[in-house]
Symmetry: C2
Subunit: 126 residues, 2 copies
């Protein structure tokens, strides 16, 4: 347990980094959580948008596209008018929910310690 040992090198494509990529898009884990905890794993676009106050239509669509490309969700299109699109968690997505929920649970348990972060709504970190 010391420096230099290249056992688990922080290569650009190591597992930890790839997981972080999933958080790179701001809304991913929130969509994941909402889909899972509030809608049982399946929801339509508009429902998701209303469940995530503050997300723009652009970012919702973009996030959903990336999550689909990552294999976290699937997209089902009902060919009707007006179009109805449903997003559903994949088994991989369901599994990813577990650590994400743990992370959020930790946040709730340590809310006091995090109080000094995000002091006032509108200012980001730092």
């Amino acid at each position: 347990m010391h420096a230099g040992s290249p056992d688990e090198e922080w290569r650009e494509d190591c597992a930890p980094r790839r997981v972080l990529e999933l958080f790179a898009t701001k809304w991913t884990s929130m969509v994941l959580h909402t889909l899972h905890a509030r809608h049982g794993g399946t929801a339509r676009t508009g429902v998701l948008q209303r469940s995530l106050p503050g997300i723009s239509k652009k970012m919702l669509t973009q996030t959903l596209r990336e999550m689909e490309a990552s294999g976290l969700i699937t997209r089902h299109v009902e060919t009707v008018v007006p179009p109805a699109v449903e997003y559903r968690l994949t088994p991989l997505g369901e599994r990813f929910v577990v650590p994400v929920e743990l992370l959020y649970a930790w946040g709730r348990d340590n809310a006091d310690a995090l109080d000094f972060l995000v002091p006032r709504p509108g200012s980001r970190r730092r």
Copy 2:
């Protein structure tokens, strides 16, 4: 379990969002993990930098500053020449390590499913 219920509103300052703020700086969780898993919770600046191939001196310092401001680590300065600075996980930091490690563990367990992400070193997601 449906839309509209404002039980756990996604306000700008809700716990989940504040946790995500901790990941907003790219290297935070990697520094945390390295400090914990490779150095037993305490390490000097240079050691950390060598343990994190690819991090710039600027980002390392900046990340450490923010982590200190967030109460995840403490900074100890040895007043000698050349200066020696040690960073140490706080109890809060130690607790945060738990969900972070679970996240990384999930990544390792699902490495196969994540293989299509980060196809070649040098290109980011998408």
